[in-house]
Each structure stands twice: as structure tokens, then as C-alpha cells.
């Protein structure tokens, strides 16, 4: 790879790569902050709002269970959203850049 030392920085500075980075970070970072906030909201409610989460909703199933199960639902949902975003947007963009870089590296 040493025969083409500028390839990494040139690629990093290219518009295509900037778009890919923005498209990845713009999706993954807010989603990470979102699910962590939602998870800690749940933890804080179980720690400090015991009366609220103990309210029974369906039979013996209380709000604490509903919130816990919703954590499962959102985890699966985020997984699905990220897979959709990746396969629709990220994979194609990264494949195109990779082919150019690998070509320049003589692979």
C-alpha cells in the first residue's frame, strides 16, 4: 500500500466519504443517544417512581413489566431500522468507495 500513500487522506477528504460519514454518524449517533436515554429513563423510573411503575395495567402485569417489554420492542425496532438504513444507503456508498480505494491500492 506504500506505493500510494495519499489514498487514505484523499479519500477521507472526498465528498463521497464525507457523505458516507454523515449518513452513518447522523443515523447511529442520535439513535445511540436515544436508546440510552430511553433505557435510563426506564431505570430511573424503576428506582425513583416505584408507586407509578407498580400500577397494574392488565391483570397482574404492571407498568414496570410493560416498560421492560417495551425495551425489548425498541431494541428489535432499532435493529430493524439500522439494518434497513444500512442496506438501503450505507452499504452501497461504502462499496463504491471501497472499490475506488482498492483499485488505487492495486488490489
Amino acid at each position: 500500500m506504500s506505493q500510494n500513500p495519499g489514498v487514505w487522506e484523499e479519500t477521507q477528504n472526498s465528498a463521497e466519504f464525507s457523505n458516507l460519514r454523515k449518513s452513518f454518524r447522523g443515523f447511529a449517533f442520535p439513535l445511540t443517544i436515544g436508546f440510552l436515554s430511553w433505557y435510563f429513563l426506564y431505570i430511573l423510573l424503576t428506582a425513583f417512581a416505584r408507586d407509578f411503575v407498580s400500577i397494574k395495567v392488565i391483570g397482574n402485569v404492571n407498568i414496570a413489566f410493560i416498560l421492560g417489554l417495551l425495551q425489548f420492542v425498541t431494541t428489535f425496532l432499532i435493529m430493524w431500522l439500522y439494518e434497513r438504513h444500512s442496506s438501503k444507503v450505507l452499504d452501497k456508498a461504502s462499496d463504491e468507495i471501497r472499490e475506488v480505494v482498492d483499485g488505487r491500492l492495486g488490489k
Binding site: A28, Y39, I43, F72, F76, I78, V101, L105
Partner: protein
């Protein structure tokens, strides 16, 4: 007719051992080059690796520990399930794909990519070994306890032999099969564990007409505790001051902060566990790494949902008193539930179910300890030996020979430690491993991948800072002294628990990030050119397979 479940249990377990040993020897013959030891050739599919991740991740703490905690404390055990699952989103969104694209064999590959090799790889090897050995210890102590309960051993000599046996088996799996063999063992285990858990879940729900509310109601009634279905029976308790009879505000707040600290360690620890991270190298592309995590989340999520049925089922059908009579930590809840579902103690069905679930629990432990031994021996060989001691001049064959020797050393060391540590609480060791991983590894990995300014001093300070903070705070916590269940009993009068929380994560995880930032800012080193390479590789997979060409 009576049937002896211990004979059946042993036979099933021996069958598992024979089958997996056969698979491991077969796998070793598939290995084409020395480095297959580290990544199994890198050709597994996303589905295979997803199952193997599930098999690597769902430890005795998940299966026996969570079911037991729910059975004894109700809702709070479920908090573990949620934390252990949600944590996978960190791995999915931030770690799996970039890690696959920019490393080859170890966590240290990515951490040291644009840094000075020797200090960063030494730090990476140190934290890999510390995290893995704590985790390993928990599994082996758990194995000893489980066998003792299932086979009715009471003397410690028999337990010691079980620990030695588990240790020897894991050394064989790892040294013979390397990553390829270990992967197949984990896939088989994941299949067995999911099948066993699904079988028990259906049998439990059958008894309650597939009505969750009815199951919860019966569990609560059997527990005799009106608050059994609410959070706060184990974690974040309101502490009553014995002298005044009032709620002790300070102690209660500390107890709730402890819950938050545990939650933080659980959700951030997974993506810093070295034995999980190296699994992403067993697939050819980042896309396959992402698919692996999707399959893993599917399996792990389904399993943790089933812990509701297993835990509350055990509470309702077996009862806390019967569980406590066999094991104070509640780890036998799931096997006892199996016995009950099969028809109860003394019945043929009960013996068969107990034997099956007991053998699955062993398989669970074996697959996890093999993964841990592999992660630490890989890091010792690839990070410490090849890149620190030999400065990159070792051949792959020399490296892998050292890795095999390292597996013997780590295995032997863990056997000795586990025998000494038999009285320890298993759950605390696992939670500690998660806290250390989240404090020492996650900050350094994230900053390596996403922060342009990050440099050698930042990486070294982040790793050692998080590691020392986590282990140091733990040493002065109620886990070690001054508490009801401390390592050093309170009646010895040796009390030095000036740190009030049992889990250090709340302090040590932010501290790891802070030290990474501070180290970076106080050093003049810039590595923008190498970061350009790392960033382009990590997002595109360019030049994959040749990453880390130092």
C-alpha cells in the same frame, strides 16, 4: 420405577463432551493457516456467527443466575435481562462493523492501529486478561457449585475435580480447535440452550393456560411478598433505619445509585468484552458482522424473554424456600424447575428433565469458558508476545505456538484461582467483569474509532485509568468489606468500605472516558494520516484482511 438422575445427567454431559471433542478435532483439521487459531479462517456466515455470539454471551450467569434472581426477588431479576439485551445496540450501532473492518485478531489491533504499538498493546493485553479472568472465574466457580448440586456432591474435593475437569476441557477445545473449534462448540451450545429454554417455557406457560398474568399472580402468591412483582426487592431498596424506623434517606439514595451504576455497567460493558469483540473477526465482511449481531440480538432477546417464564415459573411452582434450601444464591432455580415440570423429584420425567437441563447448563459454561480462554490467550500472543516482546518480527507459527502455551497458562491459573475462590458470589464476579470492560475497554475503543485527536497517551490512560478505577473502587466497596455478604466477613472487624456502591461503574466508566480525553489533550502526538486510514477502512472495508499492517 425410580431412575437416578445423576447417572443420566453424567451420561448426557459425557455425550456432549464426546460430540464437541469430535467436532473440535474435526475443526482443527480444517485449519489451513496458523492464524486460523485467532479468527477461524474468517469465513463464517453471519447466521453461524450470530449463533456463536449467543453461545459465547449467554453464560451461567444468564441462565442460572437470572432465573434464580427472579425466582427469589421477583421483578428485579428481569432488570438483568433487559440490560444484557439493550447493551447489544451499542455493539450493533457503533462497534461491530468498524471493528471488523479495521482489525484482524484482537481488540488491541484496533486500539493500537494509529498509536505507538508497545504501550497500547501492553495495556490492551492487560485489560483483556483482567476482564476475561474475572469472567472465567465466575463461570468455573459456578460450574463447581452446579455439579455439586446436581450430582449431590458435598465435599470440596469433588468440586475441585469438577473445576479441574472443566479447565482441562476448555484448554483442549482452545489449543486443539482454536477459534474454529470454539465457534462450533458455541453454536452447538446455543442451539441446546435455546431448545432447552423454549421447552421449559412452553411447559411453564402450559400450566398457566398461556396467561402471563396468571403466572405472575401465582408467583407473587407463592412468594408471600405483596411487592414481588414490583422493582426494588433486590436493587435500589428503600433502607429503613433500624434505630428510628424511618427511611434512611442517604442509604436509600446510595442503594438507588447502585442500581444505576449496575445498569450503566450492564449496558456499556457488553461492547467492551474482548471475547465478544474477537467474534466479529470470524466473518469476512462488515455486512456479515452486522448480520451476526442481528441474529445474536434475535436469539439473545428471545432467550431473555423466556427468563420471565423460567424465573417466575420457578417462583410459582418450586418456591423460594425449596430453592433456598439447596442454594442460597438461587442458582439452582432453573434445574429445580425442570425437575418439577418433568413430574417432580423421584419421578422418571423429573429425573430426565433435570438431567437434560443440568447437562445444558454444563454445556453453557464450557462454551463460555472456551471463548474467554481463547480471547485472553490470543491477546497475550498477538498483542504482548508478537508486537511488544518480538516487536512484530514473530512468524504466525511462533505466535500461535505462544497462544497455545498461553491457553495452558491462563487455564491453569484460572483453575487454581477458581479452587481458591469457591466461596465467592458468582454474580458479583460477572458484574465486575462488565464494569471493568465498560470502564477500561469501551472508552478506548470508541475514541479510537471516532475521535481524530485521540493518541497513544489518551489510549493508555483510558485503559489503565478505567481499569484501576474499577478494580480500585471495588476493593474499597461493600463487596469486599463491611457489608452483609462481603468477601471479608464483617465480624472480623476488618472494614475499609469507604466507597458506598457495590458496582463501581457509575464513577469508573466516566473516569475512563475522562482519562482518555485528558491523556490526549496533554500529549502533542498527532496521527491524522493514520486516522485517515483507520476511518476510511472502518467505514468502507477497504483493503480488508490487510488491516494492521505494521
Amino acid at each position: 420405577m425410580t431412575i437416578d438422575h445423576t447417572t443420566l445427567s453424567s451420561s448426557l454431559f459425557i455425550a456432549f463432551v464426546i460430540v464437541t471433542l469430535g467436532v473440535v478435532f474435526w475443526a482443527s483439521r480444517q485449519n489451513k493457516q496458523a492464524t486460523d487459531f485467532y479468527n477461524g479462517g474468517g469465513g463464517f456466515s453471519g447466521f453461524q456467527n450470530g449463533l456463536a455470539i449467543a453461545g459465547d454471551y449467554m453464560s451461567a450467569a444468564s441462565f442460572l443466575g437470572i432465573a434464580g434472581t427472579i425466582a427469589l426477588f421477583g421483578y428485579d431479576g428481569f432488570l438483568y435481562s433487559i440490560g444484557f439485551l439493550v447493551a447489544w445496540l451499542v455493539a450493533l450501532l457503533l462497534i461491530a462493523e468498524p471493528l471488523r473492518n479495521s482489525g484482524r485478531f484482537t481488540m488491541g489491533d484496533v486500539l493500537a492501529f494509529r498509536m505507538k504499538q508497545r504501550p497500547v498493546r501492553t495495556a490492551a493485553a492487560a485489560s483483556t486478561v483482567v476482564v476475561s479472568v474475572f469472567y472465567l472465574l465466575a463461570q468455573m466457580v459456578g460450574a463447581g457449585a452446579l455439579v455439586a448440586l446436581l450430582l449431590g456432591f458435598t465435599d470440596s474435593t469433588a468440586k475441585n475435580w469438577v473445576i479441574v475437569g472443566v479447565g482441562v476441557l476448555m484448554i483442549i477445545y482452545v489449543t486443539v480447535g482454536g477459534m474454529r473449534g470454539t465457534t462450533y462448540v458455541q453454536i452447538i451450545k446455543a442451539f441446546l440452550l435455546m431448545t432447552g429454554a423454549a421447552l421449559m417455557t412452553i411447559m411453564v406457560l402450559w400450566q398457566f393456560n398461556f396467561n402471563i398474568s396468571e403466572l405472575l399472580g401465582s408467583a407473587q402468591a407463592a412468594s408471600g411478598n405483596p411487592d414481588f412483582l414490583q422493582p426494588g426487592q433486590k436493587f435500589g431498596k428503600d433502607i429503613i433505619d433500624a434505630a428510628t424506623g424511618q427511611i434512611d434517606q442517604f442509604a436509600s439514595l446510595m442503594s438507588k445509585l447502585d442500581l444505576i451504576s449496575l445498569a450503566l455497567a450492564l449496558v456499556l460493558g457488553t461492547a467492551g468484552l474482548p471475547h465478544i469483540l474477537i467474534r466479529f473477526y470470524t466473518v469476512p465482511t462488515s455486512k456479515a458482522a452486522r448480520k451476526s449481531v442481528n441474529w445474536a440480538i434475535g436469539n439473545i432477546g428471545a432467550f431473555y424473554l423466556m427468563t420471565i417464564a423460567l424465573g417466575f415459573g420457578a417462583a410459582a411452582l418450586v418456591g423460594a424456600d425449596a430453592i433456598l434450601a439447596k442454594d442460597k444464591a438461587g442458582n439452582v432455580a432453573a434445574p429445580m424447575l425442570a425437575e418439577h415440570l418433568g413430574g417432580g423429584a423421584g419421578s422418571v420425567g423429573g429425573a430426565v428433565m433435570l438431567a437434560i437441563i443440568g447437562a445444558i447448563a454444563f454445556a453453557t459454561i464450557l462454551a463460555v469458558v472456551a471463548g474467554l480462554t481463547l480471547a485472553s490467550s490470543s491477546s497475550l500472543a498477538h498483542d504482548l508476545y508478537a508486537n511488544v516482546i518480538k516487536k512484530g518480527t514473530a512468524t504466525p507459527e511462533q505466535e500461535v505456538r505462544v497462544a497455545r502455551i498461553a491457553a495452558f497458562i491462563i487455564g491453569g491459573f484460572s483453575i487454581a484461582l477458581a479452587i481458591l475462590a469457591q466461596g465467592l458470589n458468582v454474580a458479583f464476579l460477572v458484574a465486575l467483569a462488565f464494569a471493568i470492560a465498560a470502564s477500561a475497554n469501551l472508552p478506548a475503543v470508541l475514541m479510537s474509532l471516532f475521535w481524530k485527536e485521540f493518541n497513544t497517551r489518551g489510549a493508555v490512560w483510558a485503559i489503565y485509568g478505567g481499569l484501576i478505577a474499577a478494580v480500585g473502587l471495588l476493593a474499597f466497596s461493600p463487596v469486599v468489606s463491611g457489608g452483609a455478604t462481603s468477601l471479608i466477613p464483617s465480624d472480623t472487624g476488618i472494614i475499609f468500605n469507604w466507597f458506598p456502591l457495590s458496582n463501581p461503574g457509575l464513577i469508573s466508566i466516566p473516569f475512563g472516558f475522562f482519562m482518555g480525553w485528558l491523556g490526549t489533550k496533554t500529549s502533542n502526538e498527532k496521527n491524522y494520516a493514520k486516522y485517515a486510514e483507520l476511518e476510511v477502512r472502518s467505514l468502507t472495508g477497504a483493503d480488508i484482511g490487510k488491516a494492521v499492517s505494521h
